[in-house]
């Protein structure tokens, strides 16, 4: 292959890859994200079967998923899953858990107060802050309109 055709080929690859990558990424995210939600459904149904109250099913399901994801993060498995699944591993609640456990382990060497204690909220902090702010805004509007 001469130099020119190599360059042209490179250009063609660059042109073609973003879209095919996007589609492939989306399929991976769809499958893994969908599977995580399925596992959530299995856990919900199990708790329901064993007679836990309807109101608390969500709490138990999230708790179990958060625990599993935290353990997988510790073992180094979640980052491998993340490399494959992209948003499929970020968007479910397990991604929230990973975003808390991962910096907690990572910054352990900086001590338990300013390392683990502070960095544990490096991503969860913004999520909680803006989540609570939005919930207050929703609450105020709901209160006025009620």
């Amino acid at each position: 292959m001469n130099k020119k055709s190599k360059q042209e080929y490179q250009k063609m690859v660059e042109k073609a890859s973003p879209n095919s990558n996007l589609i492939l990424d989306c399929i991976k995210a769809f499958v893994i994200g969908g599977l995580i939600c399925c596992i959530g459904q299995v856990i919900t149904n199990l708790f329901e079967y064993y007679g836990f109250s309807q109101n608390d099913l969500g709490i138990y399901t999230s708790s179990v998923l958060i625990f599993i994801a935290s353990f997988m993060t510790g073992m180094g498995w979640y980052s491998k899953l993340g490399k494959f699944a992209g948003a499929g591993s970020v968007v479910p609640i397990t991604g929230f858990s990973n975003s808390i456990t991962s910096p907690a382990i990572e910054f352990k060497k900086e001590g338990y107060i300013l390392g683990v204690g502070a960095k544990i909220f490096i991503i969860a902090g913004p999520v909680i802050l803006y989540g609570i702010l939005t919930s207050m805004a929703v609450g105020i509007i709901y209160y006025i309109l009620k």
Partner: protein
């Protein structure tokens, strides 16, 4: 059927996230914030509830479900305890999730060491 609905709806919400990551170069932290805030707004407008009824875990496991829980919590709290609910509803609704997540994170930091890169 439960599982198929959860799979499809949950998968599709993740696809939205994937498109945002690939097309806008948003970091995953921003995606998390964006999804929780959108879920909360949709929950407040009553638009997320039907999705939860249809797909159950498919709608509650992804992060917009967390936002939805915040909105629902604040509205329930206002119904039961009046104006104070504006201040207490959000954190009350998310209390279990946040507590479990930070306790697990802390325990993991005791047990595990950072992996060699």
């Amino acid at each position: 059927m439960d599982y198929l609905k959860a799979f499809i709806v949950g998968g599709l919400i993740c696809v939205i996230g994937q498109i945002l990551i690939d097309k806008t170069k948003l970091t995953s932290a921003r995606i998390l914030v964006l999804f929780v805030v959108s879920g909360c707004i949709l929950g407040g407008l009553g638009l997320y509830e039907p999705l939860v009824r249809f797909a159950n875990a498919g709608a509650t496991v992804p992060l917009p479900g967390f936002g939805y829980a915040l909105a629902k919590g604040v509205m329930n709290e206002i119904d039961t305890s009046g104006i104070t609910g504006i201040l207490t509803g959000g954190l009350k609704a998310s209390a279990a999730g946040i507590t479990v997540a930070i306790v697990c994170g802390f325990l993991a930091s005791l047990i595990f060491n950072p992996k060699e890169k």
